[in-house]
Symmetry: C2
Subunit: 540 residues, 2 copies
């Protein structure tokens, strides 16, 4: 359990005329192999004077602060007294949102947390538009000079560095320290975000054959990125595997513990893409697909991220048609987040307001008077299509109602179909059944808020006992925290990278067939979902 | 013969959908152990985009540029064509003077040379006054903060960096390249100069027990020192052994080849101190003493460095008393450099114008009419002491004559006595005779201009056949050149550092006795100098 920055007690002999070893040589000799093992041990240029001065002032004994790097060990500080706190920052570098925490590496305590919108959004809401912004200038030049710095890329890098610095300031203020006392930073982000953070050309990431410029970036210190944390603070950037398989997912695998489990597990992380990993301590197989947008609030017109005012829970009683909902923060509803959307669509299905294709039923054709009454109240025709009005304008904080339109519903059905098809294709790939899984770990905001029962109703997740599902929250951030605290976690990242197989779905025929079969609620083959009530109405 | 920056041909497979290895991983894999052996291989942050872009533009094959560092190997460039030239700069970082050369690491060719006065002189002419300047601010503060930057130290560092940048610009201009194309820098300097270059506190260097803050400084790149050469150009700083035993002398040992010689040799380097090393490939013993100033032009009133207008050769015919001299650059004489001083004093002795204690004889007591005539012309009484006027004012470029005063002559005698005592003490320490030495290598301007025969006459150097003496010029610069070109030379530095023993003369009784015995010309015991004519006059 060696943290990325650790303390090593040391006592050296005091120099005299018969032993004029240089101060830093004396320190390094006294630290010797206890500190670094077989790794080379040195004092970085920026720390030479400070380390030597503290070592001397402390009477050539005390506590050395060590950066435990991948292939070397660096002495970056010295103090007479054992430090109580070594602060380090973990960062989930999301495309839209940044979450960070500040840990005390001496005891693992969480000192503070903070989050922030990704300021790069003003250059483009999604990955593709940011890559475009980063490389637009570049593409105008035929033979850019090796030293040529892309204006757009630099803008994006500066923007994200400013965000991270802001988070570092917030965290350190909360913890009562200075930002320059933060001694390490771990970053867990998708491959594009990591490229942009380092100001590295993302041009090839989104073009066939989708090649990252790098997957690993080692030996980077805070000063090189103009971060406000300690200048020699090491950056641990979670390695990635490919353009569509980033360090955030490596973090997820790490945080889920699946790569240390003998029994096979599955990890589902829904962001812009749905990313799914299947495996155990012996092998890992992963794939990603565009199942996410409708669930993340990016597509539905009233969709939104899980934040204040988002409807996160909806229920419609199939007998009494009583409609209930709850918003995050218990404030007036503003929109629907992913879990609310799933709840709503599952409720609409169970209450027979939509058919198995996910199409709104015509109130005029309804025979049940109670249902017809409810439909008349909540289903409205807009531009020739029905939509479902969850809230009336008067109870609404926005100027509009919170409404689910057919187009959003269709996107939702495609997303859930994609999700199920991905999961099914993946387990089939290795020849096992869902029932053989020890656990399905559900990561992210999706996992935190979703009601697996409702997702099963829709046929989005396999029909397993609810106890099979374990939400773990922001696994990207958790992975980043683990690598700060534990050398074994840092080593495990390498193990994960080297043992994982990536299944490409874009060219996968089986996936396309399974996707078509999954575009009904719960599925073309209801026997796959025995726990879901059979609601067979299908109207023209 | 692996240069500090080298080129490695590489050809990688072209990426496709079935092989989406990241560009830089692809390059590192293709380079593999051919490039780095067992050492870790990586791409530094600053080079990631440029290296990847060039690698891709070149069709994933071509020539990688590698920094061959102490404990790792870094890919710092890529080109489709094999580069003809990799420029690297070697620097002799002297206290008063900087000499530099630009080499092509691809073929060892010397592209340019340049030199410059050390601009730190305005903060103090010698090491001690610069250490004082660097630490004056610091000593006023009782408990300086770890991050506290000393004003004086920063001034000194900036000053020397400006000098080095100036030399880099001059060298690159001469060679027809840009300064940022210089890919490495080796620095050979004394311990204080190296501390000041890195902006590292020199406070303890001149205080008992005389401890350097560091002897080795690895992993430093040009960008960290604000140098104008390529940002990731590695600095190879010659290691030092102690406060008074710097990297310049390690360079000298390296350049002399003595640490590779089976037979025992001696190296004499006269700068501010006389530094002497004795040894062979098995062992090395070194010492330093204040024998230098009079020989370097720092003490004699008319003394000067070997430069234009310096009298570098003097002869007085002991029979005809014909006086001849030659100046560097064949211009009007301005002063006396070390070799001129030695020539002059030896000539004065052989012409019996001074006695064996080095005191001017009184013309009034001279019986030989020719000698008396010459003495009357050239010996003048000033403030009660005789002095020797080499030139008449009319032939002189300065407003004064070039004159040797008794006080300078006394300093010269002390210097020559110290030098011989050092050499004698050293050989005696290991129980050998001067005659057993394969060679006496004489480094520096001293070695380049000195006439060993005259130095023997004075009893400064041992009375050996002139063929025993080999002048090698600026060995500090030569050592710096060697480490750029050859990995074995870099390894040899470490071997030298670990095999050398330092003999402290300040507390050495034998040295003090030998010093007293050597304060006559040639020596109290003339049998030690059989080749020197016996001139026995001694007057009151």
């Amino acid at each position: 359990m060696k943290a990325i920055v650790s303390v090593q007690q040391v006592e050296a002999s005091v120099p005299d005329l018969s032993d004029n070893t240089a101060d830093l040589d004396r320190l390094l000799q006294a630290l010797g192999s206890t500190a670094a093992g077989e790794l080379p041990l040195s004092v970085p240029y920026l720390c030479m004077t400070a380390v030597a001065r503290e070592f001397r002032n402390a009477g050539f004994k005390g506590y050395a602060l060590l950066n435990n790097l991948e292939k070397s060990c660096a002495v970056v500080g010295f103090s007479a007294e054992k430090p109580d706190c070594i602060a380090a920052m973990a960062l989930d570098l999301g495309t839209t949102h940044l979450e960070a925490s500040l840990l005390n590496l001496q005891n693992g305590e969480k000192l503070a947390t903070a989050d922030l919108e990704n300021a790069q959004i003003r250059f483009g809401a999604d990955i593709l538009s940011r890559i475009h912004h980063a490389t637009a200038t570049r593409r105008q030049q035929k033979n850019p000079e090796p030293d040529f710095q892309d204006g757009g890329l630099t803008e994006l890098q500066k923007s994200i560095i400013t965000c991270i610095n802001g988070l570092a300031e917030t965290l350190s203020e909360k913890a009562g320290i200075r930002a320059c006392e933060i001694r390490a930073l771990s970053v867990s982000g998708n491959t594009t975000m990591t490229h942009l953070l380092l100001g590295v050309d993302p041009f090839t990431l989104c073009r066939e054959p989708y090649i990252p410029l790098f997957n690993r970036a080692i030996g980077i210190t805070a000063r090189q990125l103009n971060l406000v944390i300690h200048p020699v603070a090491p950056l641990f950037i979670m390695p990635s595997i490919g353009s569509y398989f980033g360090g955030d997912l490596i973090s997820g695998i790490l945080a889920s513990g699946m790569a240390r489990s003998e029994k096979t597990r599955m990890l589902i992380d829904v962001g812009t893409n749905a990313e799914v990993v299947l495996g155990n301590s012996e092998w890992l197989i992963a794939c990603a697909g565009a199942a996410g947008p409708a669930l993340e609030g990016g597509v539905a017109r009233m969709g939104m991220r899980a934040g204040a005012g988002a409807i996160e829970y909806v229920s419609i009683d199939p007998e009494t048609f009583a409609l209930e909902y709850r918003t995050i923060g218990d404030v007036a509803p503003v929109g629907l987040c992913g879990s609310g959307l799933i709840d709503l669509v599952a409720s609409l299905y169970l209450a027979q307001l939509i058919d198995i294709r996910g199409k709104f039923r015509n109130p005029a054709k309804e025979t049940d008077p109670e249902r017809r009454k409810f439909m008349n109240k909540h289903l409205q025709l807009r531009d020739g299509d029905f939509c479902f009005v969850i809230t009336a304008t008067d109870a609404n904080a926005t100027t509009e109602d919170v409404v689910l339109e057919q187009i959003d519903l269709d996107a939702m059905i495609r997303s859930k179909a994609a999700m199920y098809a991905i999961l099914r294709t993946l387990v089939n790939q290795v020849g096992i059944e869902f029932e053989e899984l020890e656990e399905i770990t559900v990561a992210g905001a999706f996992g935190r808020h979703i009601n697996p029962e409702r997702a099963i109703t829709l046929g989005m997740l396999p029909d397993l006992p609810l106890s099979s599902y374990r939400p773990i929250g922001n696994s990207s951030l958790q992975g980043a925290e683990l690598v700060l605290l534990d050398e074994e976690a840092r080593d495990e990242c390498e193990k994960i990278v080297s043992s994982i197989t990536y299944l490409e779905l874009n060219v996968n025929q089986e996936f396309m067939i399974r996707f078509s079969g999954a575009r009904f609620i719960p599925h073309t083959d209801p026997s796959l979902f025995p726990s879901v009530p059979v609601v067979t109405r299908l109207e023209g």
